[in-house]
């Protein structure tokens, strides 16, 4: 009993010491196309939905993102890494909000504000890709604080 108690205590310590893992959210799940994401931010999950799921026929997709800001976003930077196996074939950085160029309506929002962002996307490349892909998307503000992070997983047969 004592041994079991100790092993539980050790396991509990490990669980708290390790980074939090949020549940996986499935965006699309059809026989030939699966798309899901997991928040990699230690403090919050993030809500994302696509309607309809992009497939061979529909490239026009309405995306909707919701998250509560833990920090203000006078400036906001996007960093995206596409991961295929051990490789990171694509790395993409972009500035979404700058003090002299706020590109989106959510720029300048304060800590604690809920951002609900609906945006139509045109996803053409989905027709040509095949296989398992993972992407890590991070949003960082003017002070280097992480605003959101998501590991996206895509599988297309």
């Amino acid at each position: 009993m004592a041994l079991l108690f100790m092993s539980q205590a050790v396991l509990l310590f490990k669980a708290t010491a390790e980074q939090v893992r949020w549940p996986e959210h499935v965006l699309c799940n059809s026989p030939n196309f699966q798309l899901s994401y997991v928040s990699c931010d230690p403090f919050q999950d993030v809500g994302l939905t696509l309607n309809p799921c992009p497939d061979l026929h529909s490239v026009q997709v309405n995306s909707s993102l919701s998250l509560v800001l833990n920090h203000s976003i006078e400036e906001l930077y996007l960093s995206l890494d596409l991961i295929h196996g051990d490789q990171k074939p694509i790395h993409y950085d972009d500035s979404l909000c700058l003090s002299h160029l706020p590109r989106f309506t959510f720029c300048g929002r304060r800590k604690g504000e809920l951002v609900n962002h609906d945006w139509p996307l045109k996803i053409k490349a989905i027709r040509y890709i095949k296989g398992q892909f993972n992407a890590e998307i991070r949003l960082v503000n003017q002070d280097g604080h992480q605003i959101a992070c998501a590991n996206v997983s895509l599988n297309k047969g």
């Binding site: 108690f5 939090v20 949020w22 919050q44 509560v68 590109r103 962002h117």
Partner: protein, 662 residues
């Protein structure tokens, strides 16, 4: 039984954590500058650990629901109180009765259903009231009688009218944020409160779905800035501009956003601009329906014009009204030739920004010749392409230029003296442009240059005359220019730049530094030699170790000579992260120094001993390297040699003895 209960609790906790739905949380308030951070601790009251003298309290993301008189009573010294997203829906009377010194109150994201008329009583010093997303439907519901605010933020709160604005004392107000509400119309009577303001107030109506503005509603009013960006879903720009006739404002924003609707602006819609005083006009991301000389007819009073991302290929060639314009921003447009901006239209221009053109921008000679007052020119990330040599002809006429950014563009072949037309240059950025030099001393006429960025330009760091003439240079970046042979052997390389304070030689494939390479740099306070192949940390005896930051990260240094770091002053630091530092007795003096000077080591957590591929923190290294241990080892060694010799001698004697017997 108790133990079993505890076990159950532990197991269920572990299960929940394995599922991963509980974020890591602080378990007590943390001290911050002049106060405490008690955010996100599931608190329903201020803990006793927060002293009465606290000046700043971050209590955000705690569940308060309702706040009553008494909750903050003992915190009478508070200057700033953050109650962001505390689920407050009822705010009763005299909550802040003892907070006479409070200057900033943040209520972001609380669903304030009820605010008592006496809720803000006692807030005599309050200057910032921040309450976006508070579901306040009416400004009349904010008790304003005692307030002398400088900032009021009621953005994203569902306001449908400006009723109640007159109750606010706007005499001291600098910023009024009404963005992202649902205000469809603005009348003259709504704006009476602005009649007595000093004229420097910024008011934002951004992203309100404006349908009607009473013509002349803003007449005779003065503002520091008016923001009507993203307000044109249902009404034309002219509707807002007619309402603004007679106004005087320093800045006027009429732009759009990537995620909002874009309207085409007609020239005739801008006629009302003739009847107001505006100094700075921002039209970002709108689109022109028709652009002609007439479009700019009513912009004669402008000093600053921002036309970022308006899908423009050219500007008209005979604009006669823009003689006063001093700053022009044309970032992220579709210009293909520099001459298409028709620079002669803007004879007083001091600043021109053309960052991030979508395609290729041909930088033709003499296009900017008429801009004799230009001091600032940004052409970075614009696919700038020069046919032939650059940049003597291209910069012709820009004798007053102080700042030039040519970074992230196509390869250029430079004239022998590329900046001969711009002798006043103070800052020059050519990073990430493949530069082909024609002459030996390209900067020799830039005696006033203070900042030079040549990172990733393929220039030769060992070029003996590269820095000639740069006697005022303070910052030099040579990152990413490989040095052939890995060694800068000429000791006079940096002799022309005696005032240099910051030098970046990172990613230059350096294998060693000559001892006297930096001897001329007596003012150096930052040296970045990271990501090279250096095996030795070399701190030049010439620069003062009392105030210097040395970056030797990502090199191949195993052993560190204690003399090179021992003299580092209290304001100095060294970065040795990601080096294969040895953690044995040969490096013991450095290891001891690290343990005693953690504050002088940048990125201490990545400064590890991994000569044996074991990544160990320095704090975990525990070596015994005293002189007695050395002597003991020597004695043992001698004893082994003696015993081995004796065994050999005895064995030989026995062997010879047998031969004799034979």
């Amino acid at each position: 039984m108790e133990r079993q209960n505890l076990l159950c609790v532990l197991m269920s906790l572990q299960l929940v954590m394995a599922c991963g739905t509980i974020p890591p949380a602080k378990n007590k308030c943390q001290q911050i500058v002049d106060g405490y951070d008690c955010s996100d601790l599931n608190l329903e009251s201020v803990p006793d650990a927060v002293p009465n003298t606290t000046r700043n309290l971050d209590f955000s993301f705690n569940p308060l629901t309702s706040i009553y008189k008494g909750i903050f009573t003992r915190l009478s010294e508070l200057l700033s109180l953050d109650l962001t997203r505390c689920s407050i829906d009822f705010m009763y009377e005299d909550v802040f009765a003892t907070q006479a010194k409070l200057q900033t109150l943040i209520l972001t994201g609380n669903p304030l259903i009820f605010i008592s008329g006496r809720a803000f009583c006692g807030l005599k010093s309050l200057v910032q009231l921040i309450m976006p997303q508070t579901e306040v439907k009416d400004l009349e519901h904010i008790p304003s009688s005692d307030l002398q605010l400088e900032t009021l933020d009621v953005s994203s709160s569902g306001l449908q009218t400006l009723d109640g604005l007159t109750a606010f004392n706007l005499n001291r107000m600098k910023t009024l944020n009404l963005a992202r509400n649902h205000i469809p119309s603005i009348c003259a009577s709504d704006l009476v409160a602005f009649r007595d303001t000093p004229g420097d107030i910024d008011v934002s109506f951004q992203s309100n779905d404006i349908l009607r503005v009473e013509p002349g509603a803003f007449r005779s009013l003065r503002f520091g800035g008016l923001d009507f960006s993203d307000c044109f879903t249902r009404a034309d720009v002219s509707v807002v501009l007619r309402g603004l006739e007679g106004v005087a404002t320093e800045k006027l924003k009429l732009g759009a956003f990537n995620d909002g609707p874009h309207r085409y602006i007609k020239t005739e819609s801008l006629h009302s601009l003739c009847n107001m005083t505006v100094t700075h006009l921002n039209l970002q991301m709108q689109r022109w329906e028709d652009v002609s000389n007439a479009t700019f007819e009513c912009m004669g009073g402008l000093k600053v014009l921002e036309m970022t991302e308006m899908h423009m290929h050219s500007l008209p060639d005979n604009i006669t009204t823009m003689g006063k314009l001093s700053q022009l921003t044309l970032d992220r447009n579709d210009f293909e030739n520099m001459c298409d901006i028709n620079a002669h239209n803007f004879p007083s221009l001091t600043s021109l920004s053309m960052r991030g053109m979508w395609g290729r921008l041909v930088f033709q000679g003499n296009c900017l010749r008429s801009l004799s007052h230009l001091e600032y020119l940004d052409l970075s990330h614009s696919g700038v392409y020069v046919e032939g040599l650059c940049c003597e002809q291209q910069l012709q006429g820009l004798g007053q230029l102080r700042f030039l950014n040519l970074s992230y563009n196509f390869a250029m072949r430079w004239d022998a003296l590329p900046f001969t037309a711009t002798p006043q240059l103070r800052h020059l950025d050519c990073s990430n442009v493949n530069v082909n030099l024609s002459g030996s001393a390209p900067f020799r006429n830039l005696a006033l240059l203070e900042t030079l960025n040549l990172s990733r330009t393929s220039v030769s760091v060992t070029h003996s005359h590269l820095l000639e003439g740069l006697k005022s240079l303070v910052h030099l970046n040579l990152r990413g220019n490989p040095v052939s042979g890995g060694l800068v052997s000429d000791p006079d390389t940096f002799k022309p730049v005696p005032l240099l304070e910051s030098l970046v030689l990172a990613e230059c494939e350096l294998t060693a530094i000559e001892g006297n390479l930096f001897h001329a740099l007596t003012k150096l306070t930052y040296a970045d030699l990271s990501a090279n192949y250096l095996t030795k940390l070399c701190a030049s005896p010439s620069f003062s170790l009392t105030v210097i930051r040395l970056n030797f990260a990502h090199n191949r240094i195993e052993l560190v000579d204690i003399d090179s770091v021992e003299g580092l002053g209290p304001k100095s630091s060294v970065d040795l992260s990601f080096n294969p530092l040895a953690c044995n007795c040969s490096n013991i003096k450095f290891i001891d120094w690290v343990k005693a000077n953690v504050d002088k080591l940048m990125h201490f957590e990545d400064t590890l001993c991994n000569a044996s591929n074991r990544r160990v923190q320095f704090s975990e290294v525990n070596l015994r390297c005293n002189i007695f241990a050395g002597l003991t080892a020597f004695g043992v060694m001698m004893l082994i040699i003696f015993v081995a010799t004796a065994v050999v001698v005895i064995a030989k004697k026995r062997k010879y003895g047998r031969y004799r017997e034979l």
